[in-house]
């Protein structure tokens, strides 16, 4: 009898916790919106996190003013993005990026933070055998990233 009560109580607590975690994560689960979703319901001045692919050939960066312009796309829609600053190392054309900022009434996304999204692919350099060690020595000599 006591055991049944104990198990029932435990199950109720477990279910409640599971629901709370699920609901909590789901609410903030849309970590970023896609360009198509932003285009569908963009409100000027509202803060968004926008994620997509940096379209090849779209990046321009002016080192003196730090003005960074590029276009994010998701295959159906594109959004022009403007930012002032230096992007992270992995930011680049043909790669994923997530940007935080606001939608401007002038028809572009004003980003205050650029995040590079990397894929789950890891590759060895082409001559994989001893290249790793040599590369390491090279980077230790202050030549690499």
């Amino acid at each position: 009898m006591r055991k049944t009560k104990f198990i029932t109580g435990g199950a109720v607590i477990a279910a409640a916790l599971a629901y709370m975690i699920y609901a909590g994560v789901t609410q903030s689960a849309v970590y970023f919106v896609t360009p198509a979703e932003l285009r569908a319901s963009a409100v000027a001045g509202k803060a968004y996190r926008l994620g997509g692919m940096v379209l090849p050939g779209s990046v321009t960066w002016e080192p003196r003013t730090l003005a960074l312009h590029f276009t994010l796309g998701d295959g159906t829609a594109t959004v022009p993005v403007r930012h002032k600053g230096t992007p992270p190392d992995l930011f680049g054309e043909g790669r994923g990026a997530v940007v935080e900022g606001t939608w401007s009434a002038d028809g572009y996304f004003r980003a205050s933070l650029i995040l590079a999204k990397h894929s789950e692919e890891y590759k060895a350099p082409h001559d994989a055998s001893q290249a790793g060690y040599k590369e390491l020595i090279r980077t230790l000599q202050g030549d690499g990233r």
């Binding site: 477990a14 994989a128 060690y133």
Partner: protein, 215 residues
């Protein structure tokens, strides 16, 4: 026995360092910073294993009331928290140069933070109750419930849009890594697993001696 385990762990960690820095190649896209993976990924795998041990030992305690099962759950939770902390710290150090941020609230990072806090809570709960049998009983219930987090963390990158990339290895289909990187990961996982066993063996023994001294 424990001493042998310690030496094995030390040797395996040395081998793991060798694999990570000398054998594994400089990754093509990320460069040298990718080598943090050889600490980050084994840490989280060991943390998963540690919390599965807490789960199993907690069920065993609830079923049999054997104090040895409780001590195992307690020790494994402590070491699991350590490795979860290591995962978060190394992930943060990896995130800054690659993503461009130390931290962001995407589903993977958030669920790992919840996992960490829950097991810290588990240890707090144990510390707050003076009466040994009651502490063990309450902790065992929490040890079972908190295990719900493990699949949540793993699948978070598949169920929701995240900044963190999906799994490269722990997935159906071929892995997204060359074999040399997989080997380096597995050697480091083995090393971390041995370190886990060493720490748990030490802690279980200490907890038993503390129990005997208190009784």
């Amino acid at each position: 026995m424990t001493r042998v385990l310690g030496w094995l762990a030390a040797l395996a960690l040395l081998a793991g360092l060798g694999m990570a820095f000398a054998v594994a190649p400089r990754e093509a896209t990320q460069g040298t910073v990718q080598r943090i993976m050889y600490v980050h990924v084994p840490s989280v795998w060991v943390a998963y294993c540690a919390f599965v041990v807490v789960f199993v030992a907690s069920i065993a305690y609830l079923a049999t009331r054997a104090e040895a099962a409780d001590r195992l759950a307690h020790a494994s939770a402590e070491v699991g928290v350590l490795f979860t902390g290591l995962t978060i710290a190394t992930g943060s150090i990896w995130g800054k140069p690659t993503w461009g941020t130390w931290w962001t609230w995407d589903a993977r990072l958030t669920s790992v933070a919840v996992l960490f806090v829950m097991y810290v809570g588990y240890l707090l709960l144990r510390g707050m109750i003076d009466e040994g049998e009651r502490a063990a009983r309450y902790a065992a219930v929490l040890g079972v419930v908190a295990a719900l987090n493990i699949p949540l963390v793993h699948f978070s990158v598949l169920w929701w849009r995240t900044l963190h990339q999906p799994p490269s290895l722990m997935k159906p289909g071929p892995s997204s890594m060359p074999p040399v990187i997989v080997r380096a990961l597995l050697v480091n996982f083995a090393a971390f697993a041995l370190l886990y066993l060493y720490f748990v063996a030490k802690r279980v023994r200490l907890l038993r001696l503390e129990g005997e001294a208190g009784a």
